[in-house]
């Protein structure tokens, strides 16, 4: 069974076509790195998969649930992280996580919150308002928010943007653990090496269409990346 099935997903904003028909299936437990130039449609596709943006055409299923028919059910399976962490700056990490735990209807979330704060290394800052956090600490809390409800599909949109080395290490570690635990991960980036680090499969999106898919550890992805993304940048 697929964790994500996307069948001819299209999205237009007025006259602008952001996605021109994305067909992509991601198997359970797979770690897919999705590459593309700026404006290629990576973020739009992930936002549609996360039910944040409504698509104009096509079908998309998350864990077999059609996101158009049962968006609330689909959201239970999804964890979404972008360069914005979606946490409240006037609350501290514990208050932020408690709030999201209540939104997700988690029963007895305290143990889960403590364990996540340990894993992302925020125990010492647990009572400090997020306002004073560095970008790296912010993103670590963002990771804890994403993992809070134990999602089976983790969508990461350029999560490394602006992170320091330590924060990158923490994020890599969390992704490795999630991957080992059988979670499905889709990560978008334009950095080839960072994307391929933990990925089992890679895909390239260009002008709103998937133009390449293949195993991550092959020369083919590097060639495709060079032709679609490097050439695109120089154009």
């Amino acid at each position: 069974m697929f964790a994500l099935e996307s069948d001819d997903i299209r999205k237009t904003f007025g006259h602008f076509t952001a996605l021109a028909g994305v067909t992509l299936n991601v198997e359970r437990g797979e770690f897919l790195a999705l590459f593309g130039r700026n404006g290629a449609g990576k973020t739009t596709f992930l936002k549609i998969a996360a039910t944040l943006v409504r698509h104009t055409h096509g079908k998309l299923r998350v864990e077999g649930v059609d996101i158009s028919d049962e968006p609330e059910k689909a959201r239970r399976y999804i964890g979404f992280l972008s360069h914005n962490t979606y946490v409240y700056r006037d609350l501290n990490p514990v208050e932020n996580l408690r709030f999201f735990a209540r939104l997700y209807g988690l029963k007895d979330p305290e143990h889960r919150i403590e364990s996540l704060l340990d894993r992302v290394g925020l125990q010492r800052r647990r009572s400090d308002p997020v306002r004073g956090f560095s970008r790296g600490l912010h993103q670590r809390l963002g990771i804890a928010r994403v993992m809070l409800h134990d999602p089976s599909l983790i969508l990461l949109d350029e999560p490394y943007t602006g992170l320091d080395a330590h924060a990158v290490e923490t994020l890599d570690q969390m992704l490795d653990e999630a991957s080992a635990a059988g979670k499905t991960i889709i990560l978008t980036t334009h950095d080839l090496e960072q994307g391929l680090r933990g990925a089992t499969r890679a895909a390239i999106i260009d002008r709103g269409k998937i133009v390449f898919t293949g195993a991550a550890n092959t020369a083919a992805i590097r060639e495709a990346y060079a032709s679609y993304i490097r050439v695109g940048v120089s154009r």
């Binding site: 936002k47 609330e72 409240y88 209807g105």
Partner: protein, 221 residues
């Protein structure tokens, strides 16, 4: 009910920490009353004639300040997107935000209202309770329409300017009904008040229901 209370509780904690929403509504509301008092002092007009308009100008403009603050809280760090990722209907999120906006507005209004009575030398009798009741109904309408409009204006370039431009015309029926009902109470014309209260309650319920149903489209990017 859990998500609704979670949103209200979260907004209360943030407000207790930042003290930005209620205090700004309060200061603005009182300043409006004081300015009106000086402006109309020498006009010789009866307090009960200008008072209702004065009070609802203070309430409705102060509400816009509160709604702008509530909007800013959700725009900061794209927190609105975090709410939209939760496995809830969009309508539930809307009701949560309406409840917290309503609560903050009512707290500010229930402090401004006694100031209005003191500045206008009115006695704290049955009229005070009656106007407090009208404030609850009117504020429900203002917060119902204001919450969805603040969400719509969040996706525009001139957020803070766009909200009053949209909010004031749409809340006119609520404000007219509230001003008229307040006027009836201040002038002890109780037989005619029920019609205005019906209009006030009707508009508040219509705004709340329609906004609940279309909130899904308002949060669309």
């Amino acid at each position: 009910m859990k998500p609704l209370t979670a949103i209200v509780f979260k907004d209360i904690v943030i407000e207790m920490r930042s003290k930005e929403s209620i205090s700004s509504m309060l200061m603005f509301g009182i300043l409006v009353l004081v300015i009106f008092m000086f402006a109309f002092e020498s006009s010789g007009l009866e307090k009960t004639v200008i008072g209702p308009g004065e009070l609802w100008v203070a309430f409705s403009f102060a509400a816009i300040l509160g709604l702008n603050r509530s909007l800013a809280m959700e725009i900061d760090n794209d927190c609105l997107q975090g709410l939209l990722l939760a496995p809830l209907g969009r309508g539930e999120l809307y009701l949560g935000k309406v409840a917290s906006n309503f609560a903050f507005m009512i707290i500010a209004e229930f402090i401004v209202l006694p100031v209005f009575f003191i500045l206008n030398n009115l006695s704290f009798d049955q009229r005070f309770i009656g106007i407090a009741g009208i404030s609850i109904l009117g504020t429900l309408g203002i917060s119902a329409v204001g919450t969805i409009l603040s969400t719509i204006s969040a996706n525009t370039r001139m957020k803070e300017v766009m909200l009053p431009i949209l909010q004031i015309p749409l809340s006119v029926p609520v404000i007219i009904a509230a001003v008229e009902a307040t006027s009836q109470i201040l002038n002890n014309e109780k037989p005619e008040i029920s019609a205005w209260l019906t209009i006030l309650a009707g508009f508040s319920i219509v705004y709340l229901t329609v906004s609940y149903l279309v909130f899904e489209f308002a949060v669309e990017e």
